[in-house]
Amino acid sequence: MRNPSLHSKRALIAVGIALALYFVLASLPPWVLAATASPSNKVQLNVANAQPRQVEDATVQAIQRDYGKAWQTLAQAMSENRADLLNASFTGIARDKLAQAIAEQKQAGLSRKYVDKGHHLEAVFYSVEGSAMEVRDTAQVEIQLLDGDKVVHSEDATMHYVALMTPTENAWKIRVFQAVQGF
């Protein structure tokens, strides 16, 4: 025999649980969701249009590895307000600008979190002697701007970057790093 009252109660409980789950998930910090939902730091490099020099396979591997690492470095440095971390992946103008941003963030008690969801790179310039490569990056990034622990703004966006990379002793480092509106 079906008991209508019991059935309704069950339905109500199910809805309640669903709602609770919804609110719990909604209240979770987005980077927690992203970290569990997506593999981090996927970098794909297309070198078909690189000029004036063709890009060697080993260089493709190195750029993918080091650009991905640079984003990990950036995310950690911006989140923890540690400019010293930048040296591993950034140099020159890019390092100086990011270091200044971190110094000012730290002074104001602010920080920002990046959740890196992947990059499609296209090499647009590779110098004749192999000492510089410029890439365009279409990145899926989630950005959180924080004041202390409070999130003041959050955004999940497709971002575009131009990066100029130069080889050092054991890695390629980013020398110029600019976000642009589009390509």
Partner: protein
């Protein structure tokens, strides 16, 4: 029970709508800002709010009077890139983002390779020019870049290229004349120069003459050694003299000094003497005999 469910659903919908409305306010930010140029962004409402600015190299948190425009000085937006601006006050958040782009080209980072080249070689010199504004932002707009390679006393080689994503590159032949060539990249008033040392290429031909020395040895000496463009082959370049006679082969390596090379070969009554530098072979002399 159904009514309870319907009410619950309506409540959730209302919450979601209210939540989205609360976060829907956007600031009326400019579409495009040039680096180092001040910005004014209008605000609405009254009272005080907290202003957050997150830029590529500048971050700020300060009080902002609502109803008064947000004033960002040129120094606040020196770096090209994306700027987030957030106003938080009175239970509302309004936000926006804008892009700062590079200002006019002020500085050129110029990579020129190699620093030393033989004269009259096709496509041997390369130059890459990276265009920056006064705030060290890469100028990504297509820009005409003039490349000029000139050595004193010879006509200059000029090439104009359009930059792509902030970089223009060219490949040039080396000039015919040896010397320190000025390799210049310029955009408007911005110019950067590098020096490419053009040196003589391989000798064009080598002519030598021979005479008997004091002790019976054979003294050989070349005419001034030049490349095919008439440039003197640099001192220090090795020239090899070889004599073959009935006793065998004698070889002497000599360095060019003051434009010529000379050597002393062992005495011989009959020998075939030859001269060479690198891959270039000079004349032969039949010494003595018949």
């Amino acid at each position: 029970m159904k009514r309870v469910l319907v009410l619950l659903m309506l409540l959730i919908a209302a919450c979601i709508v209210a939540s989205s409305v609360a976060h829907a306010q956007t600031l009326n930010v400019p579409e495009k800002v040039f680096a180092g140029t001040g910005v004014s962004i209008p605000t609405s409402g009254s009272g005080e709010a907290t202003l957050y600015l997150y830029g590529p190299n500048h971050v700020a948190k300060r009080k902002q009077q609502l109803g008064q425009p947000i004033q960002l000085a040129g120094d606040d937006v020196r770096a090209a890139g994306r700027y987030f601006i957030v106003l938080n006050g009175g239970g509302n958040e309004s936000s926006g983002s804008f892009f700062v782009t590079a200002n006019k080209v002020d500085n050129i980072a110029f990579l020129a390779r190699p620093s030393r080249v033989p004269a009259s070689k096709p496509g041997v010199i390369s130059g890459s020019a990276f265009l920056f504004d006064a705030y060290q932002n890469l100028q990504l707009e297509p820009t005409l870049v003039a490349f000029n390679l000139a050595v004193e006393g010879a006509p200059a080689i000029t090439r104009t290229e359009t930059s792509k994503f902030g970089v223009a590159w060219t490949r040039l032949d080396s000039g015919k004349k040896a010397g320190a060539a000025q390799f210049v990249a310029n955009v408007g008033d911005a110019r950067t120069n590098r020096v490419v040392q053009q040196v003589a290429a391989e000798p064009c031909n080598i002519r030598m003459r021979a005479q008997r020395g004091n002790n019976g040895a054979i003294e050989v000496v070349t005419d001034p050694i030049r490349d095919c463009s008439g440039n003197a082959v640099p001192d220090g370049t090795i020239v090899t003299f070889t004599a073959v006679d009935s006793n065998g082969k004698s070889t002497v390596d000599s360095r060019i000094k003051r434009g010529i090379a000379q050597a002393e070969l062992p005495p011989s009554n009959s020998a075939l003497i030859s001269v060479a530098a690198g891959v270039v072979v000079g004349n032969e002399i039949h010494w003595g005999g018949k």
